[in-house]
């Protein structure tokens, strides 16, 4: 009974946690060995000669193509040593100041139209008679 399995004998006196750790460690070692063995094997042969034929039949038949012609709409410009285009600022609108009215010279002055008028106080005013002194006509309204 006691020689049932070595593993059982070995497990005697170990805690379940220690047993589980040992089992996991063994599995990891086995997995590593299997991986190393798989990498060293040569690739397996295709399953059959008809496999490649099937794949080949699904591919479109390649037709002989002419050499690519350049796209007429695009003409590549070979790089040259011409300098980069310089930035020309857009000309700003120039402001022309409104001409300052120049004071009319005495020769340019227009003769005032002579007139006679009766004042509110009954007196008479005649512009020609006022020649010889400056006259100010003040147009106003009582409001």
């Amino acid at each position: 009974m006691n020689r049932a399995t070595p593993i059982m004998i070995t497990a005697i006196g170990k805690t379940p946690r220690q047993c589980l750790r040992r089992v996991l460690l063994s599995l990891i070692v086995l997995a590593l060995c299997a991986a190393v063995t798989g990498c060293n094997q040569t690739p397996a042969e295709p399953r059959g000669s008809d496999y490649g034929a099937t794949v080949e039949a699904l591919l479109p038949t390649a037709e002989p193509t002419a050499p690519p012609t350049p796209d007429p709409t695009f003409t590549p410009i070979p790089p040259t040593d011409t300098p980069a285009p310089t930035y020309t600022p857009r000309p700003q609108p120039t402001y022309t100041p409104w001409p300052t009215p120049t004071r009319a010279t005495t020769e340019d002055r227009q003769r005032a139209i002579p007139f006679n008028a009766q004042m509110l106080d009954g007196s008479e005013f005649s512009l020609p008679e006022a020649y010889g002194s400056p006259t100010l006509l003040a147009f106003w309204a009582p409001w």
Partner: protein
């Protein structure tokens, strides 16, 4: 206009400047007389009922000023509420000519 009246009393009358006030634009003679007395406008004023003078000198609004030199020629035309200082300066120029 009261400012022009003050300038007339203080300076223009003594300087020999003829100041003629022209009242017009939708008013009456009675209203013009009342305004002249109330504001003590001591310079001569005329009631231009049909705006004949305004038409002759192309006056479009009030206040407007026409400066006539000693030779009877139009030296300056001022429209709008110009300051009395400007009026005085122009008249000084006319007196200096």
């Amino acid at each position: 206009m009261p400012a022009v009246a003050s300038l007339y009393r203080e300076k223009l009358d003594d300087a020999g400047v003829d100041v003629i006030g022209v009242s017009q634009f939708n008013t009456t003679e009675a209203a013009t007389i009342e305004f002249v007395e109330r504001n003590q406008l001591s310079f001569p004023n005329v009631y231009d009922e049909r705006a004949q003078l305004a038409g002759v000198y192309d006056i479009r609004g009030v206040p407007s000023y026409v400066f006539i030199d000693k030779q009877g020629r139009i030296a300056h035309v001022s429209a709008g509420a110009r300051g009395v200082a400007l009026i005085e300066a122009w008249l000084d120029q006319l007196l200096a000519e």
